[in-house]
């Protein structure tokens, strides 16, 4: 099996780690596992998540 790709935080130059983080949008909160910098807390939102689930949630909550 291929070794999993790693992401590095561009600020802290450390490996990002998979963490469960809390998202808030329009008074609703959700959790999701995304790569997160253990030092500065910056997270990476994968394209698929942004255009997929997050987009769906946004549409549902905004009646789009």
């Amino acid at each position: 099996m291929e070794e999993k790709s790693k992401l590095i935080c561009d600020r802290c130059k450390v490996d990002m780690t998979e963490s469960e983080v809390e998202f808030s949008y329009l008074n609703r909160s959700f959790r999701h596992k995304v790569p997160r910098c253990p030092q500065c807390g910056q997270v990476y939102i994968p394209e698929k998540l942004a255009s997929g689930r997050m987009n769906e949630v946004e549409k549902m909550l905004e009646e789009k």
Binding site: D10, F30, K33, K48, V57
Partner: protein, 496 residues
């Protein structure tokens, strides 16, 4: 008395086009018009002037039909419907009357349908070839995203070939086909809801006037509550979504709205919407006295009878229609049984349901998808199913795509997208993840809407020009629903 606006209306007796005036009188709004031959007519529009002014101030988006089918002299609306070159909105939903027969004989019936239980074709009923031709015509008249279709009548389920009619429509590419039904056959024939669902029916648009039999005796001539409940139950078994459609009559069921909402909440797994229709004075209705329920009456009663759980401020107009024609709202039933409005978030005051889309075709698509998404029983997400059945017990480890999906293909790199706020690490087990949230929301969300039809009394040509619910007439015209039932139905008036 002051004039709030003028429009073109008709004389309800001779249909002659007349000027109609929206007047404010003691804080209420009426439509007033005078026919030289038949006198002055007035009808209620809004009990509170502020409601009328607030709603009519809403913005609108006009997307005309692809091509005009009729034309007529200026000032003669609505006597040349078809749709004509003056029409401002392409249809969202097109009705096809597949029969004039019915298995009930309701004292109130906009179609004046007569009881006829014969299984074959009734007089003038389109056969399958004719329906195929009608579908093809509608594909030609519609945009890339085909019209939504409502199979109506009469009672469409009296036709034994209804499943075939649905299948034919689906195979031709109509994504949304709703069945306008009284639910009698669905209730009485075990497995029939499944047959409709398997054929591709999108939703049962179910006549449901309230939660006690006094209401049904008044509106339908017989006690039907048990039958309605059975119809809902059979739709649940079949996974066929239901939209409750109450005809609202002032002295019959206006005060039952709160109870109807309770019924919806108890059945929110299968009932995905309630669509109030204040009674119109066309077709068959008892009594001469007009005691009109307005759209605003429904909104206000909804709020009062539910002690504010369903508030008038949650309701908004559809911008591709006329603001006096309908209201719409969406809610989620929460775990504790209370409801949460889903539209308190900025768009509602703009009355915008079809978002920031600028491309007319995109707006048309979103408009038509609106009910497709709303009146639908959603299956859990595929990913969610995988998670639940994952052999390793992990929630994400075996389907993690995060590192690959940035598209860079590198093993090291800088994040191309980041979120610096609103993303704190959490150990809150109570929080739902996106999939769980979406599934929960879809399972428990429902819409509340109302359509205020027009008849000869309250007909307003400006509203008609923006009508998005059109009937495909036997002679292949697309006629705004209210004009069709007020003027064009064969037995209404001759030779128009």
């Amino acid at each position: 008395m002051k004039i709030l606006g003028t429009t073109q209306s008709i004389c309800p007796v001779c249909l002659k086009p007349l000027e109609g005036r929206y007047l404010s009188e003691a804080g209420s709004v009426i439509l007033n018009k005078t026919c030289e031959a038949h006198g002055t007519f007035e009808t209620a529009i809004a009990q509170r002037e502020e409601d009328y002014l607030r709603w009519t101030a809403n913005s609108s988006i006009n997307i005309p039909p692809k091509k005009a089918m009729t034309q007529g002299a200026s000032g003669s609306c609505p006597l040349h419907c078809g749709t004509c070159k003056e029409h401002l909105q392409t249809a969202c939903c097109v009705l096809i009357d597949v029969t004039e027969r019915c298995n009930q004989h309701c004292p109130y019936c906009f179609a004046k349908a007569e009881t006829d239980l014969s299984g074959g074709f009734g007089p003038g009923e389109p056969d399958l070839e004719e329906i195929r031709r009608k579908y093809d015509l509608l594909l030609d008249l519609g945009e890339e995203r085909a019209f939504n279709i409502q199979l109506s009548g009469g009672e469409p389920t009296v036709r034994n070939d209804l499943p075939e009619i649905i299948r034919m429509g689906k195979s031709k590419g109509f994504e949304f086909i709703q069945i306008n039904t009284n639910g009698r056959r669905i209730a009485q024939e075990e497995g029939y809801a499944q047959i409709l669902r398997d054929a591709g029916a999108s939703v049962a648009f179910l006549q449901f006037d309230g939660t006690n039999d006094e209401i049904y005796r008044a509106l339908r001539g017989e006690p039907l509550l048990k039958l309605k409940k059975k119809a809902v139950e059979n739709c649940r078994k079949a996974g066929l979504p239901v939209t409750l459609v109450p005809t609202v009559v002032r002295d019959v069921n206006l005060k039952n709205i709160g109870e109807m909402m309770n019924f919806l909440l108890e059945n929110v797994d299968v009932v995905k919407g309630i669509h109030f229709q204040p009674v119109s004075f066309f077709g068959r209705h008892p009594g001469e006295k007009e005691n009109r329920v307005t759209m605003f009456d429904v909104m206000n009663e909804l709020e009062q009878q539910t002690k504010g759980a369903f508030a008038a401020r949650d309701c908004y107009p559809i911008t591709t229609g006329h603001p006096l024609c309908c209201f719409q709202s969406s809610y989620q039933k929460q775990k504790n049984g209370t409801v949460k409005s889903l539209i308190n978030y900025g768009t509602k005051m703009e009355g915008l349901s079809c978002c920031e889309a600028k491309d007319p075709l995109e707006i048309v698509k979103k408009d038509r998808d609106f009910v497709l998404n709303k009146w639908h029983i959603h299956e859990p997400h595929q990913e969610q199913k995988q998670e639940e059945s994952c052999c390793c017990g992990s929630t994400e480890a075996c389907c993690d795509e995060s590192a690959e999906s940035c598209g860079c293909g590198k093993s090291e790199g800088s994040p191309s997208k980041s979120a610096e706020s609103g993303c704190c690490e959490t150990t809150n087990e109570e929080l739902l993840d996106f999939d769980q949230f979406l599934n929960e929301l879809r399972r428990n969300m429902f819409s509340v809407s109302c359509m205020a039809f027009m008849d000869g009394s309250n007909l307003d040509a400006e509203r008609l020009k923006r009508c998005r619910v059109q009937v495909l007439s036997p002679d292949d015209r697309l006629i705004p629903f209210c004009a069709y039932n007020s003027i064009y139905r064969e037995d209404q008036h001759e030779s128009i």
